[in-house]
C-alpha cells in the first residue's frame, strides 16, 4: 500500500470515527480539504502571478494573487506566492505576515509547509 493510500485510509477512519462519536448538537466539522469551487480560476491566477513574478512585475503579481485570495482566501499557495512576491520585492514585514497566513492554512504533512519554513527564513534575512 502506498503512503498516500495509507494516509487517505487513516484520515477516512478518523473522520468516520469522529462522526459516529460526536455529541448530537455539535455540528461543526474539521475542514476536509475538498476541492474548492473556483480552483481552476485560482490556479489560473496563480499561474499568471508566477509569470509576472518571473518578469519582476511584482505589483502585477500582487494584483493577481489578491484576486485569487478573494476567490479562495484559504488557499495556502496563494498566500505563499504573495509572500514570495514580497520577499523578492524586499518587503520584509509583509513577507513574514503572508507566510504566517500560508502556514495557518497549510497542513503539517504538506510539502508547502517546508517551503513556507524556508521562505520564512529568507524573509527574516531581508
Amino acid at each position: 500500500m502506498s503512503l498516500n493510500r495509507l494516509i487517505i485510509l487513516v484520515t477516512l477512519v478518523l473522520v468516520l470515527g469522529a462522526c459516529t462519536t460526536e455529541p448530537r448538537f455539535n455540528r461543526y466539522q474539521v475542514p476536509t480539504g475538498q476541492t474548492q469551487p473556483g480552483q481552476s480560476a485560482v490556479e489560473e491566477l496563480q499561474g499568471k502571478a508566477r509569470q509576472a513574478l518571473e518578469q519582476q512585475a511584482y505589483q502585477q503579481a500582487i494584483d493577481y494573487l489578491q484576486r485569487a485570495i478573494k476567490i479562495e482566501p484559504r488557499n495556502p499557495h496563494s498566500w505563499h506566492y504573495l509572500a514570495e512576491t514580497y520577499w523578492r520585492s524586499g518587503d520584509k514585514r509583509r513577507c513574514i505576515e503572508m507566510v504566517e497566513r500560508s502556514f495557518s492554512y497549510s497542513s503539517s504533512a504538506d510539502d508547502l509547509e517546508q517551503a513556507n519554513q524556508r521562505l520564512m527564513e529568507q524573509c527574516r534575512q531581508i
Binding site: F25, N26, R27, Y28, Q29, P37, G38, E43, Q60, R101
Partner: protein, 745 residues
C-alpha cells in the same frame, strides 16, 4: 501781418489736432481691443491647456470574477448588468448588451482599462445550474474559460461644485454620423466659416425682427461652444460681441475637429435632480445605456434634437415633443443624404428607446460616504470633484442588495417607525467591506450611523474578554461562579452589576457562562485580572477609547460604531489576524495610471489556538445560548456570534459570522430611548433575515494541532464520555485538559 498770419494758422490747427486726437483715440481703442482680445485668448488658453473640464471622480464596485463554481444566479448576474447599464436585447448582443438564451445568459462585456491591463470587449455565454455558474464560454471561439473579470459597476460619483457630470470623448471616439448630424442641424456652414456666419446672423436678425421676438439663432457651433464654455447665458449685445470674438479666436487657434470634439463634450443635454448632464457620451449612456459608437440613427437624432432645448425636448417630461423634434432631425438627416430611405422610415417609426427612468445619482449614500472619508486622507475635496479619479472599491452590489432586502423585511417585525439601524457586512478574511447601511431608509444620505453613531456595545465585548481570560489559567471548562458582586470604584461609588435576567445561576463552566452571556462571572473574573488584559487587547486593535480603565467596560459600556465593532469581530473571526477593514483597493487617474493601491494586510495580533477556543464558544452561543434562534432557523448550519444588549434595552446588537462573511447589526433610536429589544429579540432577528437572503456557507473552525478536543458537562466543566448526548465537545490547550470527571448531564 504776423498777427494776421497767426489768426489764419489757428483754424488750420484744429482739424490737425482733431485728427491727432482721433488718431490717439483709434490707437487707444486698438490697444484696448488688443488687450481685450489678449485677455479672451488667455481665457481660452487657460481652459484648453489646463483641465478643460472638471470631471467627477467615479467610484467603482469590485469587479466580479466569474468562474465555474461561483455562487451566482442568472438573476443576480442580470441585476449586476442592469446596474452597469447593460441593455437586454433579443439579437446577438453588442458591447453593453446581453440576452437570455434558455437558462444561460449571453453578454457582451464592454472593454475596460483595469489600470494597466486593458481588457477588450468580449462576447461570453454564462451557464447556470440553480445558484451556481457551471460553465463559461467565449461565444466567438466556443472555448471554455476558467475565469472572466466583468468590468465593475459605477456605484456613485463625486461631482464638481457646478454639479456637472460628463464622460469625455477623444477626437477619434466621436462617431462621424453624430458630427455630420450636428453640422446638418445646427450649423451647415461649419466647415466654411471662421467662427461666425454673417449671413446666418443677418437671416436670424430679419426673422426675429419680423416675428417681434427671438425665433431663430444665428450662432455657429463655434459661437455656441464659446458661449457654453466661457460666457453666461444672458442675452445682451456685449455677450454677443464677446461670443463672436471668442469664436474667431477659437477658430484661429484650433482645428475644426478639436472644436467639434469640445462641443460634443461640453453641450448641456439633461438635468437629473441637481446634476447637469453634459456631453453626448454621458447622455447617451444614461438615456440609452449605450456607448456613442453603438448609437443608431434615431438615438443620434434625439440627442442632437435636444441640443436646441434640453428642457423643452426632455424625452421623460415631454416625450411627444421630443419625438417630433427627433423626427424633424431625422428628416434633415435624410434630406442631407445622411440616411437611406429605408433607414429613415425605420428610424422615424422607432420608439424613443430610452430607459424607463434615469438611474439614481448615488443610490448607496452610506457606502459612498465611507469611501469619501477614507479618501480624504490622501485627496482634497477639490481633487475628488474635479480630477476625474477612478476609485476602485470592495463594494459588492449583490451583497448590498441582499442586505437592503433583509433590512426591509426585518424591520417590519418590530413595528417601530423610530427604530434606526446600522449594518456592516465584510469579508473578514481579506478585510473587504462589501455592504453598508446606516439608516432604515437605505438611500437616505443623512447621518452615517454605521460610522458615526457611538453606542455602548454591551455583551459584544465578551468574546475579547473571554480571549483575555483564556490568556491566563482559565480554560472553557473552568468553573466560575454566578454570584452577586460589589465593586468600589475610583470615585468611591459602589457598583453592583446584575445579570440581564436579574437572576443568579450558581456555579458553572466558563463556556456555559459565556453562551448565556451571564454578567456576574465575567465581572468577577475581570476584576481578578482580566480587565488589564482586555484593555491591552482592545488597544492592539486601536479600540481602547479611555485612558482610565473602569470595570464597567467588562460589561461593554465602551461605546463603538457598528464599523468599529466589525473591525473587532474581524480579528476574532479571522483566527486573530488583524486585517484592516477597507473600502478602497486602488485609485487611478483619468489616464488610468494608478495613483494609490491599498494592499492586503494581515497582522497576527492574537494567538490562533486561543481564538479558536473563543470561536467555539461563539458557536455555542448560536447552538444553545442567547442566539439559539439561529439553530432553529438554520438547522444543520454552523454560525458563530454574540448578542449584545445595553441598559434598559436602548441598543440591540448582534455580530456573527459564517464561512466568509461577518455581519454586524445595530438597532436603536437616535433619541436613545429604550427600544425594548434585546440583542436576541432585535438585532439577531434582523441579522438572520439578511443572512437568509444572502445565503451562506457554514462557519468551520480551523484545524490547530496544539488543541485537544474533549467533551465536558457544561454545567460543571467535568469531562464526560464522548457518547454523552448532553456533553459539549470543546478545544483545550495541550496539557490543560479538565482534571475532573462528571456524570453525563
Amino acid at each position: 501781418m504776423p498777427r494776421k498770419a497767426k489768426r489764419k494758422k489757428k483754424p488750420a490747427a484744429k482739424p490737425r489736432n482733431n485728427r491727432r486726437y482721433a488718431g490717439y483715440l483709434l490707437l487707444g481703442a486698438l490697444a484696448a481691443l488688443a488687450i481685450y482680445l489678449g485677455y479672451l485668448n488667455y481665457l481660452i488658453n487657460a481652459r484648453f491647456e489646463g483641465d478643460t473640464w472638471a470631471l467627477p471622480s467615479r467610484v467603482y464596485a469590485r469587479a466580479l470574477d466569474i468562474f465555474p463554481g461561483l455562487v451566482l444566479t442568472s438573476d443576480q448576474l442580470e441585476y449586476e448588468l442592469g446596474l452597469s447599464s447593460y441593455l437586454r436585447v433579443d439579437a446577438e448582443p453588442l458591447p453593453g448588451q446581453y440576452r437570455r438564451l434558455g437558462g444561460s445568459l449571453e453578454l457582451h462585456a464592454r472593454a475596460f482599462d483595469f489600470s494597466g491591463e486593458l481588457q477588450p470587449a468580449r462576447l461570453l455565454q454564462v451557464f447556470f445550474d440553480k445558484d451556481r455558474v457551471t460553465a463559461l464560454t467565449d461565444s466567438s471561439s466556443g472555448v471554455d474559460l476558467s475565469l472572466f473579470r466583468l468590468p465593475p459597476v459605477i456605484i456613485g460619483s463625486y461631482y464638481p461644485g457646478n454639479g456637472e457630470d460628463r464622460l469625455l470623448l477623444s477626437e477619434d471616439e466621436v462617431p462621424a454620423r453624430l458630427v455630420e448630424t450636428l453640422i446638418a442641424v445646427e450649423d451647415r456652414k461649419f466647415n466654411q466659416h471662421y467662427g461666425i456666419d454673417p449671413r446666418a446672423i443677418a437671416r436670424a436678425l430679419l426673422a426675429n425682427l419680423e416675428a417681434g421676438k427671438t425665433v431663430q439663432g444665428g450662432s455657429t457651433l463655434t459661437q455656441q461652444l464659446a458661449k457654453n464654455m466661457f460666457l453666461t447665458p444672458e442675452r445682451s449685445l456685449l455677450r454677443k460681441v464677446n461670443e463672436a470674438f471668442m469664436a474667431l479666436l477659437l477658430e484661429l487657434r484650433f482645428s475644426k475637429k478639436t472644436i467639434l470634439t469640445a462641443y460634443v463634450n461640453e453641450v448641456f443635454l439633461l438635468q437629473q435632480n441637481r446634476i447637469a448632464v453634459h456631453g453626448f457620451a454621458r447622455a447617451s449612456r444614461m438615456l440609452f445605456r449605450r456607448s456613442v459608437e453603438h448609437l443608431e440613427a434615431q438615438h443620434i437624432a434625439l440627442l442632437v434634437g435636444m441640443v436646441k432645448g434640453p428642457t423643452r425636448y426632455n424625452p421623460f417630461k415631454a416625450p411627444e415633443t421630443a419625438r417630433q423634434r427627433r423626427n424633424l432631425v431625422l428628416k434633415i438627416m435624410f434630406d442631407q443624404g445622411l440616411l437611406q430611405p429605408q433607414e429613415f422610415e425605420t428610424a422615424s417609426a422607432a420608439p424613443l428607446g430610452i430607459v424607463d427612468r434615469l438611474p439614481g445619482v448615488n443610490p448607496f449614500p452610506a457606502y459612498l460616504d465611507l469611501v469619501k472619508r477614507q479618501l480624504q486622507s490622501s485627496y482634497s475635496a477639490e481633487e475628488l470633484s474635479r480630477r476625474g479619479l477612478r476609485v476602485f472599491t470592495t463594494f459588492d452590489p449583490l451583497v448590498q442588495r441582499n442586505l437592503e432586502l433583509g433590512l426591509e423585511r426585518g424591520l417590519q417585525r418590530f413595528a417601530q417607525p423610530d427604530l434606526q439601524a446600522a449594518v456592516v457586512v465584510a469579508d473578514y478574511l481579506n478585510g473587504d467591506v462589501q455592504a453598508l447601511v446606516s439608516d432604515r431608509e437605505t438611500d437616505y444620505p443623512g447621518f452615517n450611523r454605521a460610522l458615526m453613531a457611538q453606542r455602548p456595545i454591551g455583551s459584544l465585548i465578551k468574546p475579547l474578554l473571554l480571549y483575555s481570560l483564556l490568556e491566563g489559567e482559565l480554560t472553557l471548562a473552568s468553573k466560575v461562579k454566578d454570584e452577586p458582586i460589589r465593586i468600589r470604584q475610583s470615585d468611591g461609588k459602589i457598583w453592583e452589576p446584575r445579570n440581564y435576567d436579574r437572576e443568579l445561576h450558581g456555579e458553572m463552566s466558563l463556556y456555559q457562562a459565556f453562551i448565556n452571556s451571564y454578567n456576574l462571572p465575567f465581572v468577577r473574573l475581570g476584576v481578578d485580572g482580566g480587565l488589564e488584559a482586555l484593555a491591552q487587547n482592545l488597544d492592539k486593535i486601536k479600540l481602547l477609547k479611555h485612558d482610565v480603565i473602569y470595570p464597567s467596560i467588562l460589561l461593554g459600556t465602551t461605546a463603538m460604531s457598528a464599523y468599529e465593532v466589525a473591525q473587532l469581530y474581524q480579528v476574532i473571526a479571522n483566527n486573530g489576524y488583524f486585517t484592516p477593514l477597507t473600502t478602497i483597493r486602488s485609485v487611478s487617474d483619468q489616464q488610468h495610471q494608478t495613483l494609490e493601491r491599498v494592499p492586503l494586510e494581515s497582522h497576527k495580533l492574537f494567538d490562533q489556538a486561543r481564538m479558536i477556543q473563543v470561536q467555539r464558544a461563539m458557536i455555542g452561543v448560536a447552538e444553545s445560548g442567547t442566539a439559539n434562534y439561529l439553530a432553529q432557523r438554520f438547522p444543520g448550519r454552523n454560525l458563530a456570534g454574540k448578542t449584545g444588549t445595553t441598559s434598559d434595552a436602548r441598543d440591540s446588537w448582534f455580530a456573527g459570522f459564517s464561512r466568509r462573511l461577518l455581519t454586524v447589526v445595530w438597532l436603536g433610536r437616535d433619541d436613545n430611548k429604550p427600544i425594548n429589544l434585546t440583542g436576541s429579540s432585535g438585532a439577531l432577528r434582523l441579522w438572520s433575515d439578511i443572512m437568509e437572503i444572502q445565503g451562506f456557507d457554514s462557519f468551520k473552525l480551523s484545524h490547530d494541532g496544539s488543541l485537544e478536543w474533549r467533551s465536558i458537562n457544561p454545567g460543571n466543566g467535568g469531562l464526560v464520555q464522548k457518547s454523552c448526548t448532553g456533553g459539549v465537545l470543546l478545544p483545550f490547550p495541550q496539557g490543560r485538559l479538565p482534571d475532573t470527571r462528571s456524570a453525563c448531564p
